[in-house]
Symmetry: C2
Subunit: 388 residues, 2 copies
């Protein structure tokens, strides 16, 4: 077995790493756009730190695009890309949660090539266009979960068609990730839990992916160990800096792991949920679905699920992977059923259809490959009712 | 503390990874040069595997430069660079031990910019020229030690001035590393020990470097643990594939670690030794000097030397780092004094002078910064006599 490993993102990780952004940005030009959300980067002070550092290092013109919403939509990417082209921006800085970073990366692709964001998302048939160029992107996460700062993915929603799709291309990597745990201390316990669970799912889905990659596996293993220990601490003690630092690091490790192996059925089933119900955070959807998908999977990669259970602090047995997830989600205080978060039962058919139409290419990497669409429908139904 | 991490080399690691070279090379062009040594890549069959794979994937023209010698000299780089320019070669493949890989990388810089290799080496005053361009390089190690396949360094010797100097630049990274443990199985126990000790020294010197980098440290820690366990196995059982695989992996990890932190006094003192006595393998010089330099250092970074001792399987006390090295070198059957390998006592002054003239810039990263040149002279004298 040959393992492939490549992570072309330069990482700065540590307290006050944010203050490096000006120095780093100077490598790439003089005119920047900061892509961020409407509120949190203003409220937690990170936007001001970024602007001060850019000014100090002679980035003379800085535009701000602050319209990114959670579960970001295509318009965010296309609007910001137009701004970048019209204003001849040299470099793009993504500041925020996964949404802001995903948008920043996709803006780089769309602003540097023809077409709109939908031309670059990965349908089961492949993407419609291949990008040939990109603008440099610096990603500064303010959550610890998505790993978007080190991966090649951007997840974007079409709010009319209710489709959530992924741009995945080697030009979609940021050039630099600036990971500063101080930017995450203002996250609420809920947001900490939700984003941290996303990181855990990345580590779980890369660990159990049918394509083995022993280098990437070490990143998953390390991430799971850290998250099992430190996520509950970060949730319960928002000011615990060690916990914030560990979670920032773990989210990066899990991001690297998932970048090499790609997501599987937990993510595949989640995307239609938050596409149709944008009020459902990605991490909440994952937490609801993870135990059901894991129960569906574990007999098919017993070694890896045993390892997962062990890393979570449970006996090294495959079915304990399910227990460990259920209890971990309980500890984090996250919802347990699709019903609980407002998904309608009559929508389950549509969700199942969307999985098939938009994401069936991921079936093959899942530990157990679904053969009938009914299996997906049943997973949704169990997660709706809470029948584990 | 902000840790920086960047490793822009795509890695393929595993048995038969060599067979991927043709497919990878096609990304970069149609005309390649293979830079290798006079014998081992022919005898162990790796050269033929490379040529077959290139042919199979339509690399129509392949030149071979097979004049690289151990402790490679400036002429190797300059000659091969001239060949690359004259023949309009698209890509460079380094195949062999650290020497072949170091030459391949430096050839990329020299063939793509003005000047000769001495314009790009790092003197205490800095390099004379800055490269602006490079040609793609694929590195295929046939030893497990130098880590050259993933780092930005090329060590080159001037045989007239007896100077061993380092090219160190971000354009000196290979694009791709193809690490195939099967290429290392024909190494003799001696070569296995010597090259493996080089990897151990990389891990030790990066772990104890005065610049902390907690991400890179994890690579050192992992490398030391693997080398302590598997290097003696690889030496005693040349056909043990698991040991070969572990050592290939550890050498890569240690290479990544040292790439981030740079070498310190063990390497700094070794380079003049093998520059003046080219029959002394780099790893042999390191093995002789490591216990003396470690004894000189350990009081100044007690935490890290305690950790090193522990990773080597000794009690977690700083002075045990020295014991662990002495006994490990003993287990590997490597020489113990400079006298044993033919260094002349009257040359110790010149070696000391060369350290000052060529490498004093590395004093500052050593755990204990030498203040007087006499300290260097005394280290050489102890290592000459065997007075630990």
């Amino acid at each position: 077995m040959v393992s492939n490993f490549y992570i072309p993102v330069e990482v700065f990780l540590g307290e006050n790493a944010t203050l490096k952004v000006g120095e780093v940005a100077r490598r790439f030009g003089f005119k920047a756009v900061v892509i961020t959300g409407k509120k949190s980067s203003k409220e937690n002070g990170s936007l001001q730190k970024v602007l001060d550092s850019l000014k100090k290092h002679g980035i003379s013109e800085v535009l701000i695009y602050d319209e990114v919403e959670p579960n970001p939509i295509d318009r965010n990417v296309n609007d910001a890309a137009r701004l970048v082209v019209e204003e001849k921006v040299d470099l793009i800085i993504g500041l925020g949660g996964g949404s802001a970073l995903d948008v920043a990366k996709a803006v780089s692709i769309v602003s540097s090539n023809e077409g709109s964001v939908w031309d670059y998302v990965k349908y089961p048939e492949g993407a419609r266009l291949v990008p040939f160029y990109n603008r440099p992107v610096i990603c500064i996460p303010t959550t610890s979960g998505t790993g978007s700062e080190v991966d090649r993915y951007s997840v974007v929603t079409n709010p009319i068609r209710k489709e959530k799709l992924v741009v995945s291309h080697s030009l979609n990597y940021p050039k630099v990730a600036i990971i500063d745990p101080l930017n995450t201390t203002s996250m609420s316990p809920y947001l900490t839990a939700v984003t941290g669970f996303d990181a855990l799912t990345h580590a779980l889905e890369s660990l159990t992916n049918r394509a083995d990659n022993f280098i990437a596996e070490e990143y998953s293993v390390k991430a799971i160990r850290i998250i099992a220990k430190w996520l509950p601490v970060a949730v319960n003690e928002p000011d615990n800096l060690e916990a914030r630092k560990q979670m920032s690091y773990a989210a990066m490790l899990a991001g690297i792991a998932i970048d090499h192996l790609g997501v599987a059925l937990i993510h595949t089933l989640e995307h239609p949920v938050s596409a149709h119900y944008p009020h459902v955070a990605h991490g909440v959807g994952l937490a609801i679905l993870a135990p059901y998908v894991t129960k569906y999977n574990y007999e098919y990669r017993k070694d890896k699920y045993s390892l997962f259970a062990e890393l979570m602090g449970y006996p090294s047995e495959p079915h304990k992977a399910v227990d460990s997830l259920v209890e971990f989600i309980d500890t984090l205080g996250l919802p347990k059923t699709l019903k609980d978060v407002g998904v309608e039962k009559e929508k389950l058919d549509r969700l199942t259809e969307d999985v098939y139409m938009l994401s069936r290419h991921s079936f093959i990497v899942n530990p157990r490959e679904p053969k009938e669409l009914d299996e997906i429908r049943e997973l949704y139904e169990s997660a709706y009712e809470g029948n584990l």
